[in-house]
Amino acid sequence: TTHSWKFLGLEDANGEIPENSLWRKANFGSGVTIGSLDTGVWPESASFDDSSFDPVPNTWKGTCVNTNSFNPSDCNKKLIGARFYIKAYELSKGPLNTTATGDFRSPRDKDGHGTHTSSTASGRFVEGANILGFANGTAKGGAPKARLAVYKVCWPGGCWEADILAAMDDAIADGVDILTLSIGGKVPLPDFFQDGIALGAFHAIQKGITVVCSAGNDGPKVGSVVNLPPWILTVAASSIDRSFSASVILGNNKTYLGSSLSEFKLEDRLYPIVASSDVGYRSSIGSLLCTVGSLDPKKTEGKIVVCLRGVTTRLSKGTAVKQAGGAGLVLANSDADGGELIADPHVLPATNVDAQSGKEIYAYLKNTKSSVGYITPAKTLLGVEPSPKMASFSSQGPNTLTPDILKPDITGPGMNILAAFTRATAPAGDGRLVEFNVESGTSMSCPHLAGIVALLKALHPDWSPAAIKSAIMTTAITYDNTGNKILDGSNKVAGPFNYGAGHVNVNAAADPGLVYDAAIEDYIFFLCGLGYSSVAMETLTGYEVHCPDAKLSLSDFNYPSVTLSNLKGSTTVTRTVTNVGGDGQAEYKVAINPPPGVSVSITPSILKFSSTGEKKSFTLTFTAERSSKGAYVFGDFSWSDGKHQVRSPIVVKAT
């Protein structure tokens, strides 16, 4: 990606990599292997160049498959594994039609999504990366010296769970250190034992493999977050301080800021501007949304057309307007899209405006007899404020399966991210192929976190997946580059249901001071607390397990956040922290920011450590001072020794 790692603090303002950058401390992720389950890979991308890489270690058990469109020579010392899994897809959809879909019956990536995510996690430095001149810079993955193994599990129409499980079965045995899955269900599942990703991830963490998954793109719907197990790092999406700006100027002199990657420019004059529903063949939802063929060329020719964004494919709207002879496209967000602006490489001059701007533009068109307008040429802007800002599409908590575990866990860059792309698909659908493309989604934030996990794994090879996750969560920040609280897609103050612990703070995660660690036994007791039997747990783990007789409180699970979804009166929960500070001796004092209407006390309030690796437990007692009437309230607490700040969100619903 270009710019996102600078935004995350791995580079300084001049683009230099300082000595205290986690990149340098972790030798850019050297010695770590990331496994990516996605749409495959475009192996010829410069992001996967292997120059200066050491030979592949003998411990690696993966392979590069040999098929018509992919063979072992497509792999190298950087891209060390490539497999594909298609049986479940073909059971459901029939044999892959390579002619009709253009896809490859191999690990080769037709869609581009897998190349984008893989290069975001671990791509090499590639100078002069851009799309159509936008977002220019040196593309970099989070862990550029990490190795990469790709497991293609996604095909036109989706990613089947039986294929995903087969890939996880292989990836764990192949010897990956991290698994990244920008994949998930449409809705949260009612049971971990009905969730293939949850089960595969459990066996991964048994082997010390951190599993990073996207939270989903079904926001701003409440309770839409997926990939819910506490053993997964679940990633929301937010903006970076970069935008691709193209404004709409109306005849009434009002200007509306929009977003675009269109390289096409209008002539320097005002154009007639119309609502798409007024230039359709008939009044229909198709013309409102500008579906291809819905617009009448006689009414559209030479005009700027305003189309509602809605749920249909954004890029096809430009095609519809262009085919009907339109001069430009204004893509107006619906209320559900809110203020979230997406930059697309349109096929004509175009821009995407937010919902409020869209309403005002539609009102102008309705109330003006000869409406005119103009779309300014798109340009890349840096230093945008405020940022990060949550993406409207980013799925939100609460966790609908285990409400006492906060999800998502963290947020990272997931809006307008430039990364490597396939040469088999033209992003605008018009034949223009690109080396790099800009995409948005929790799919894009997930590999950012996977890259960061790889750096932490390289720096701290002995840390467990839970310790790595804790380091990332407890050092996260909740303020933006203006010093104010991070906002959501509607410009309201965001909270833990949007971003979990907050926005990832990469360099701080390298030295968190304390971690909330968890071993496999802790996850087992968590599952016992959900009601699973000792026998089931023995089958799951392969060894003798005795679930405690008394049902465990899920709130006691040693998670880096504390959630009480049903606080009645008063309750006490326990946490244990492990000292991972290099100095050994340390004294931490607690600071509490209680949720409104809830009193919180922590005992003891001082933790004294005499050695690295030492564990100390403490209790948090919550007392509801008043009912929150079914609403969640938020606060936090943090431990500090003056050097480290170990912060945990508190989420409470008092009944």
Partner: protein, 89 residues
Amino acid sequence: SSNDQASSGYIVYMGSKPESPRRHKLAHSHHRMLASVLHSEEAARESILYSYTRSFNGFSARLNATHVAALKKMPGVLSVFPDKRNQLH
């Protein structure tokens, strides 16, 4: 009558990989389980999609509701659930 029911993809999950059996033996045990509910070795071979044998224990196969009910009752089976479509995010 079970043959009249529509079949679709399911995952039969059986937890951790046993220490002792080699991969092909584990895969063979999956075939035997499947054959016992399908009442045919050949049908089992045609039905199975994957044997998960390298990192955990389970398999996926084309099954109908009767087969699913029978497999759920077998020892060592933790869950049997439909093979769902996930999406890119």
